[in-house]
Symmetry: C2
Subunit: 241 residues, 2 copies
Amino acid sequence: MTYCVGLLLNEGMVLLSDTRTNAGLDHISSYRKMFTFEVPGERVITILTAGSLSATQLTIARLQEAIDAPDATGDNSILLAPSLLKVAEIVGATLWSVRDAMDQRLKANGHFGSASMIVAGQRKGGVMRMFLIYPEGNFIEATAETPFLQVGEHKYGKPILDRIVRSETTLDDGKKAVLLSMDSTLRSNLSVGMPLDLAVIREGDCRLSHQRRIEAGDADFAKMSAAWSRVLRDGFLKMKI
Amino acid sequence: MTYCVGLLLNEGMVLLSDTRTNAGLDHISSYRKMFTFEVPGERVITILTAGSLSATQLTIARLQEAIDAPDATGDNSILLAPSLLKVAEIVGATLWSVRDAMDQRLKANGHFGSASMIVAGQRKGGVMRMFLIYPEGNFIEATAETPFLQVGEHKYGKPILDRIVRSETTLDDGKKAVLLSMDSTLRSNLSVGMPLDLAVIREGDCRLSHQRRIEAGDADFAKMSAAWSRVLRDGFLKMKI
């Protein structure tokens, strides 16, 4: 499995993904699940992927191929698309066409290759938008009422987001919130694993404003995790019922 | 769905269940999911149920029928069984026979009626034991290393248990932990709903030591929920990253 989360805040967008991929419990590897396409200052698009690795890798490769094609147009290249909505449509259609072709063959064995994605971006002069692309290519969009989207193992890390994240949340608090949400997921579910990829896109920057890979054993992450455990433990023990 | 959780602590056992049952989103009702069978001072058995209501109701009814039968024996009555292990076997076999009969008919429509249970109890002179009964009737047991069991929507409420619950946890802290675990689940998942049933079986009591129904709008629960939100929020805001 996977856990990816994206926040759409007034100040910008915060994105976090893990890197664990597993085909069964005895075949574990580490793959990047965060991909950024940008023309710095003009357009930034970050995609987080969950689900069948063969489906997500091929989707990302197809998107890159369409960008690099000499006859690229706004209809097939996410770097030329006239709107973020069109970007979401291109990603959705690409994901679906990859999955559809795969499933024709997989279903003979009773398998299927599901996958979903978070697409976050901004064009110069446009507003930030964030979409969750479903395995069938349709999508929903984050809004002021629901300023976060998750794919993969989303349940363990949802309570903290439900309680903390609002559109007004600052970027620093947003980073803390997604890291703690990931921390709860890492502790409870083996199929989600370090290292992590964290990215921040500040409103108006139209580029990756900040990007960091957090390795297993990262001192800051361990400190934060321990501090949060103390907050929970001390608060818990002090509470009366 | 449902959320039920049981803690096996040195001081005793703490059990909590919600009461929401839904067949689709537009058919919601409230059913008790906690059932206690006891000969006070001699034997206490509490069962928490999750899954298809028709399967769990019929299983509980069959267990009661076997207890009431004039020819009840230690082989079929959970109040006469010579050990808690035998109790788990009777509950598992009953659940499986109910489901097997149901599924013969349901599968014609592509449906099936899954269900699982937590069985917790103690006999005079014996030790406390707690089992998770799977839909097929096989089961696992809580141990000192893993002193809690969950059925139903278990993911939202697992992080708090992972961080807090140990065998040495007191009964009062155990009550707080299961209520906070439920609170996180209630906030994040509509298919789990108030009122709640809380029970405590103190070690050696061999009876329900404490039992409480917590209604929607219960002042103490609301206070605890608000206090926990404050703990999380204040702790979160104070943390540096």
